[in-house]
């Protein structure tokens, strides 16, 4: 196994770079980082639409979230693979296709995290802000979102971990990420698939495990922080403002 790493380590790490485009683990991480960071603002927007008092915002956003969450990721890959070029009128790279897919997919999932985070905040926070005369959007921007986004950092980090794993779907449209590189290695060695795919699995496992641990650590820190803050006493009514 070590000899495979010695010979093909660079390929698994950076693909054919610097002689060709960047690939391997680095591309996997680039895709995950870009995917999550582009999906995040979209997910906040979707979440705000989902809890909006306006039907015109609530219904379409709910439909989008349910549709995206209701189909396998690979369906979305196919759709963007064939739809995006038609929509924008020119061919796009496999990388762009995969990125677009990941962004749409993650935006839908993360919007549910954001929505839950907003709804988990005590109603008193909104009532206090509105009582001071802050508008709905000021309340969201200055009171609700800063708190709920902070509280949901651990969930967002675990979403990043699943995105890392999801980038492997890029293999089917020949994005040269980690899984694609491993299969290239396998194709050139031919007779040692178990070792190659063990290396592949271990790489994902180590990266994801360390990030999951980081998320757990963050979560413990936040729970400790929250338990020192004010306690909530149930109020007579829970009517929204």
């Amino acid at each position: 196994m070590l000899d495979i790493l010695k010979t093909y380590g660079t390929l698994l790490l950076v693909g054919s770079y610097p002689n060709g485009p960047i690939g391997g683990l680095v591309l996997t991480l680039v895709l995950a980082v870009l995917g999550v960071s582009l999906a995040f603002p979209l997910s906040v927007g979707l979440a705000l639409c989902r809890i909006s008092p306006y039907t015109a915002l609530r219904v379409p956003s709910t439909v989008i979230v349910y549709c995206v969450r209701g189909v396998p990721l690979i369906m979305l890959v196919f759709w963007s693979y064939f739809m995006v070029p038609v929509l924008i009128g020119r061919p796009v790279s496999a990388f762009t296709t995969l990125l677009v897919t990941l962004v749409i997919y993650q935006a839908a999932y993360m919007s549910e995290i954001v929505r839950a985070g907003i709804e988990a905040l005590p109603l008193g926070q909104v009532e206090a802000a509105r009582s001071l005369g802050l508008s709905y959007s000021q309340t969201m921007r200055d009171v609700v979102l800063p708190q709920s986004l902070f509280n949901m950092l651990p969930s967002l980090l675990s979403q990043f971990v699943s995105t890392i794993k999801e980038t492997s779907i890029g293999y089917v449209i020949s994005v040269q990420e980690l899984t694609f590189s491993a299969s290239q290695v396998n194709a050139s060695l031919l007779v040692r698939p178990f070792e190659v795919y063990l290396i592949l699995s271990l790489t994902y496992f180590i990266v994801c495990l360390s990030l999951t641990q980081a998320a757990h650590f963050l979560e413990r820190r936040l729970v400790a922080r929250r338990s020192t803050s004010h306690h909530t006493v149930p109020h007579e009514s829970y009517d929204p403002v």
Binding site: R130, G133, L134, Q138, Q147, S237
Partner: protein, 245 residues
């Protein structure tokens, strides 16, 4: 006298439950009214209708002559003119005491950071917490949090302050410091509506006590009269319960 708050035949329903039953009453400018009554009697609901945290199904409420529940009222502007203090303080935990107070003056009245800072410091000083300007809510005791919350409500310089059980969530030794701030406000001539069971406070500063039961104000009296000789049997029962606890 000019009524600052006027309730006119207020009806409020939660589904089939008639929470407020034709409440009619008024509070004059500069008057301090204490609202008490058993839990579920509608006192919190009533105070929350004043700045429209609760909608009503019948009647009208006017504050300083403005119909609160009229459609199309500039609700944010209207609310900024009413200070509201909650049972659970509801300070913003991600902001320091100072920032909690500065938020509304900056966002709602468009004050500059310098002016808002000056105002917030003066208010913190007024509630005796000038030294805690940079503390976060979770670093403050309950009594201190509630005093910051009062300062925050005062930051919009409202002519009316509403207090919804401001001391109910506090440990006994912290109640005094909050009441002290409220007494000072009352003596300074603030119009106040307070849902509270603090009889000492009512005796000392309230002009009138309203006793509520089952969604109605069933007794309205001067505090001395009310506590010494309540008229209604339910008010008697309530007061004797309060004393034995």
């Amino acid at each position: 006298m000019n009524p600052m708050i006027r309730f006119n035949k207020i009806d409020k329903w939660y589904g089939n439950y008639h929470a407020l039953v034709g409440v009619t009453a008024q509070i004059a400018a500069g008057e301090v009214v204490v609202v008490c009554g058993p839990s579920g009697s509608g006192k919190s609901t009533l105070i929350r209708t004043v700045n429209r945290l609760e909608e009503i199904q019948g009647g009208t409420i006017s504050v300083d002559g403005k119909d609160v529940h009229r459609a199309g009222i500039d609700l944010n502007r209207f609310r900024s003119g009413i200070g509201f203090v909650f049972q659970n303080f509801n300070l913003f935990p991600h902001l320091s005491a100072l920032d909690n107070i500065m938020l509304a003056p900056m966002k709602v009245s468009g004050k500059s950071a310098t002016d808002a800072h000056k105002l917030a410091m003066a208010l913190l000083d007024r509630v005796g917490l000038a030294g805690k300007a940079n503390a976060y809510p979770q670093q403050l005791s309950g009594g201190q949090q509630q005093r910051v919350a009062i300062a925050r409500a005062l930051a919009m310089e409202p002519p009316v302050m509403l207090f919804d059980e401001p001391t109910s969530a506090l440990d006994p030794e912290m109640i005094g410091e909050v009441l002290q701030v409220m007494k000072t406000l009352a003596r300074d001539g603030m119009t106040m509506m307070c849902v509270t069971h603090e009889m000492g406070f009512a005796r000392e500063v309230a002009h009138r006590v309203w006793f509520m039961d089952r969604g109605k104000i069933i007794e309205e009296a001067h505090p001395e009269t009310f506590f010494a000789s309540p008229q209604h049997p339910r008010a008697k029962a309530f007061l004797s319960d309060l004393r034995t606890h």
